[in-house]
């Protein structure tokens, strides 16, 4: 949770491995995020956390292979995972990334480096191309038709609710088990540690029990899926 003094507080993910330093990638969406965008280098902000459950790193490390599916602003939190995977001995990964337009693609400069990793396959798509765009066009789920989904793969997906819904659907069709699909949910958050109730989703509090869940955990909640 980041505080802009005199404005307010909002929840964000790490977009890098967090040590003494960390990065967050912030989309301008309202009051606090706008104030964050206006800050000058050297400004002081408040920070509380980290809260909640992280990606299941040990399970991912022992998986057969990993498919990372990012939609739009969902890539930053996955970038911290990708950095971790590269820095440690992880199984092969396929990275699928979709954004609305080429201009919305984040971390473009990193793609070449990621693709060079011998254990990594990466595909990128946009919903709507532009004059200079030569890559894939279509929603992120169309990328599944361009890869061979390894058996017993674990899928990690972060993005807008509607995108994750379709990714989950696609994965289930492809035979991925609900417990092998890992999603990160977004909900309103105020306290970050299980008190304010704002992040309730079914029986869970997303700040404390999540934001990372397996699809198995949340599939029965009549909510976004």
């Amino acid at each position: 949770m980041l505080t802009v003094f005199g404005v307010g507080e909002a929840p964000f993910a790490f977009s890098s491995i967090a040590g003494k330093k960390f990065q967050s990638t912030i989309r301008k969406a309202g009051t606090v995020t706008e104030a964050l965008h206006k800050l000058k280098v050297g400004s002081k902000i408040g920070i509380r956390g980290p809260f909640g459950k992280p990606f299941p790193l040990d399970e991912l490390k022992n998986a057969n292979s990993i498919i990372i599916v990012a939609g739009g602003i969902g890539l930053p939190p996955l970038r911290s995972l990708i950095q971790y995977i590269f820095a440690n001995d992880f199984p092969n990964q396929i990275i699928l990334y979709g954004a609305r337009t080429p201009a919305d693609l984040l971390f473009k400069k990193k793609f070449e480096k990621w693709k060079k990793n011998p254990k990594t396959e990466m595909l990128v798509t946009v919903d709507n191309g532009d004059a200079n765009w030569k890559g894939n066009v279509g929603v992120v789920t169309t990328l599944f038709d361009k890869i061979k989904v390894p058996e017993n793969a674990k899928v990690v997906t972060v993005g807008p609710a509607i995108m994750m819904k379709f990714v989950v659907k696609k994965c289930l069709e492809l035979g991925v088990k609900p417990e092998d699909i890992i999603v990160s949910l977004e909900n309103r958050m105020t306290c970050g540690y299980g008190k304010c109730g704002n992040c309730a989703y079914g029986k869970y509090l997303v700040c404390k029990d999540g934001p990372v869940f397996t699809y198995e955990q949340i599939k029965d909640i009549q909510g976004i899926f």
């Binding site: 003094f5 005199g6 306290c191 304010c196 109730g197 309730a200 029965d220």
Partner: protein, 311 residues
Amino acid sequence: MSSVKAYIIKDLEVPPDLEMKNQYVFKRQRILSYNIKSLKIKEHLDVDEKLILIRPCDAIALEYIDKVMLEEPADPQYKILREQGIFAVVNCLKSCDGGFCLSTGGSLLNNGLGDLELTPLKDKEYFVEVLTEKGHNYIQKLGLKEAPKGLGEKVDKMKKDALGNPEQEIIVIPTPEQIRNIPMEEWEKIASGCLGCGFCNYSCPTCTCYAESHVKKDTNNFSKVRVWDACVLESFNLMAGGHTLMPNRSRRFRRRYSHKFENIPEQYGVLGCVGCGRCYKLCPAHFDIKKILSYLAKKGAEVKLPVTASQ
């Protein structure tokens, strides 16, 4: 610790329904203050010792609130208030309007909870029994008059009479399974006419959700303040860009019931409702929780759908 000595306390009034919870889960509370120039932050953890008058149903609700707010990491403000506050539970000698505490496993009388137990004698005057050391010390400080000999027996008889003739209708509380069995169309029907105003949440002794904002005092000084929030409000989990996981009123209405009668029982082993009936008394649209619960129990037992949890 039940005490042999009893006391008389005068000039006390049990707060009205909407002020009850405000004694310990505040409508508006400053969490911290800061100066944006110096970045000096002051946490507000100063709470004066004070007497808090609650009912037996509120005492049961507090046990649940403790589970949530004191679970590590505990809520600092609440924790201090629980330590500093003297909780006096005022027995009900007859059932209140709309209350159904017997159906939720409660009683008109206190069941050993709180620091003091009060039984009404006459207007604003109570018989005081001491339950804890903290209660004892507080009574000593007040220098209260000891109750006359023989009054204890009289009070015992009043309590026995209250238990013997509670004049309260018993209703069936739906099980978590029954709540889960209710299809969304049914909730739409039940919730129709709800204003989404939040009074049911505000009056409820087990509702503790809150919202925060950074409030300006002057150019450089701000406070982080929390206020009561309500899960039936559209704003409750509204996110940037108008996204929400609870997009309509019937879903939010259901959320309130499924939290109290499905999620809390399954997670904490207690009901999330203590049968105080306040959400009925204060609802401007006259939604009667007793009728709704009886209906849910009946419907939930009838419809056998594939099991799905509620949001």
